[in-house]
Symmetry: C2
Subunit: 222 residues, 2 copies
Amino acid sequence: VSYLVTTTETRARRRNPRGMGGHLAGEIVAGALRLIDAGGSAETVTLRAIAREVGISAPSIYAHFRDRDEIVLAIARKIFDEIRHRVAEATGAGGDPVKRLLAGCRAYVDFGLEHPERYRAIFTCELTPPDARSTPTSLEEFAGGEGFLGADAFLELVRSLEECSRAGLSDSSDPDADAVAIWIYLHGLVSLRSGLDRFPWPPVESMLDGNVAKLAGVRRPA
Amino acid sequence: VSYLVTTTETRARRRNPRGMGGHLAGEIVAGALRLIDAGGSAETVTLRAIAREVGISAPSIYAHFRDRDEIVLAIARKIFDEIRHRVAEATGAGGDPVKRLLAGCRAYVDFGLEHPERYRAIFTCELTPPDARSTPTSLEEFAGGEGFLGADAFLELVRSLEECSRAGLSDSSDPDADAVAIWIYLHGLVSLRSGLDRFPWPPVESMLDGNVAKLAGVRRPA
DNA sequence: TGTACATCAGTGAACGCGCGTTCACTGATGTAC
DNA sequence: TGTACATCAGTGAACGCGCGTTCACTGATGTAC
């Protein structure tokens, strides 16, 4: 006879004190993030699995979220916030514009490679909140609205490239278009690398700076 | 009283003639592809949904596939074959090496943008067949094995870049690494564009050739 | 030419499961009198 | 100080659903004699 010992994880959660019931919303999002980090795709992270992870019953979630979609949206917002924060921190760290552009790109890629499941999750679920309906025609208009949750992180990139251009450090004739190209490269790097872990990738450092510099029309840094 | 008319789609499928039962395998893969094209993620394409689409009962599938995973693998193989074929066709169409490199990239991207669901599907499901277990250390070793179903299409890219280099048309000091960078760019272009359809993307033509040329270290074509 | 039989392509019913969501509820904690 | 009551944080049981998979089967078609 063999036993399958399911780790019941008795996890003696004690209920929040009176008036602190709102804390559960945070615990729910945190639990969902833990599930994503554990390798589950955005679809494996079910409402019931979250409840199990947090240590509550499934119906308890409905006091804090209208439905499953609202949880997914909350997770996406949180992940995007994290990316934006890390990129902004790197970009604002000082140095000449080229250095700051490259630091921002590094921060973006580092986040993606450190948290491949989170990065993947935000591109697997719906990225646009349901209330954003109009179709923008310019970059500014797009970033101004709430069209794409990650718009801020991307705008940070555009701004640093424009700075390079203004400082005469980039011969980019169209910074907006080149920022898009860089973003495409960064996204491709993260998603291809973490999707194909058996591929003999060159080390990140050797690929990133040089290729971003090429796309940005920037003289290679020393 | 309101009726929900589910299009029962009586689809009078007649059984395959004697000895032609094997045809059903093809119909199953074709049906699954239709489901993917219709917008379903790789997980929405369930065994029962496929059976419904093809017009057979669910158990009939087991005569041709061991389980659901085997169908998914068959689909992935088919899609990769299609990409490889289109890239090889474009690369082999003639012209100077740079022209052929760019044509190959265009073919890759065109496929991805024409069939965003198919492209997404192959990167959502497991890409490595279960029998490939060793971990390669070089590009050649990787492409030699069956490690990644899409290896052939990528190798096509490496070869055309090496040709450019040999013909003195590229100042790439490391064609393998630059081919990786290009692939990353192409993948990023396809997957970001088709994931974010509300973003004001510049037209493909204006982005592709120029940026690939930059990454390849190739003098911009006229 | 007729008939028994094997083969083949595919079915229908059933299984146990996990899902999202609903409903009426419980039991601890603070508050008013 | 004691007690009735409202509020709050969360439950347990149940619903209908679609899933992958299994099992024993059916009914048409070709073949041997």
